[in-house]
């Protein structure tokens, strides 16, 4: 994969690049899923207003 002239982590092979970016994306999905989707009561209550304000499915 040809990357744009300015990229982060200049000397990274395309395979390693893919793995690292995929890791980042999974980390993001995990964080978002935990705060926005967790069924644990305490997590739900702590982020209650946030869930409503982001229109995450709630209750």
């Amino acid at each position: 994969m040809n990357t744009a002239s300015v990229s982060l982590g200049a000397s990274v092979s395309s395979q390693s690049r893919f793995v690292q970016l995929a890791l980042v994306a999974f980390l993001g999905i995990f964080v978002m899923g935990f705060v926005g989707f967790s069924h644990i009561d305490a997590v739900h209550n702590a982020a209650h207003d946030y869930r409503h304000s982001m229109a995450f499915p709630c209750h």
């Binding site: 990357t3 970016l21 980042v24 993001g28 705060v35 209550n45 207003d49 304000s53 229109a55 499915p57």
Partner: protein, 255 residues
Amino acid sequence: MTLFRNVVFIAAIAGLVAGVVLACMQAFATVPLILKAEVYEQAGGGHTHDHAAAPAANATDANAMSSAEPAAPAAEDEGWAPADGFERFAFNVVANVVTGIGFALILVAASEFAGGIGNWRQGLFWGLAGFAVFTLAPNLGLPPELPAMPAADLTQRQIWWTATVVATAAGLGLLAFRKSLPLALLAVALIVAPHIVGAPQPDSFESPIPEGLHHQFVVAVTLTNLVFWLVLGAAVGVVRGRLTGTASGLRDSFA
């Protein structure tokens, strides 16, 4: 893992900035409407939260006073919740910052596959895409709800929400980065499909929440999210530009 480290660094800064901005907007635009809705929730005697047990502190409605007491036992069932007032606000800020960083991680990872967000203006367009994927598309089928509004089974809605986000993201990605007519048609199909399937709906739409209050809430949620995504995209562009030491042109990132 330099790439990983850099991407996480950019996402952390951008997510922090956008999350704080969003928390401030919510404090003025959406949370007051949620508190109002909780008064109706209390009056209706329906599903309650323990922090809703003392809405009288925030709302002036007399209904809250009369119904605060019977709601107290529900607190035992629902587990820990932040106390109303500062604690509740503080947890909202934390939730905003944490998920701001979560959204930023997803946004930066996705944009790096396409060459990266070169500057703040490019970031605005990535932000618009994020808004379309995470706010517009799922909210068509599942409009933002206030407490006490009827809704279908939670897990079903979460599945539909997730599927819609994935399909819309894939569709937008195909439209933006693939130059072929069949793929463009597939992209449109992907974006439309979740809405043909349809979001899980409640059995009855009867709600103690006035229509006007809900409409206000939908507008507030949509606009605060729009600003959040624009700030997030622009912040990623700025931080990334600082990190790479250059601001690459708009053309570089459209393959």
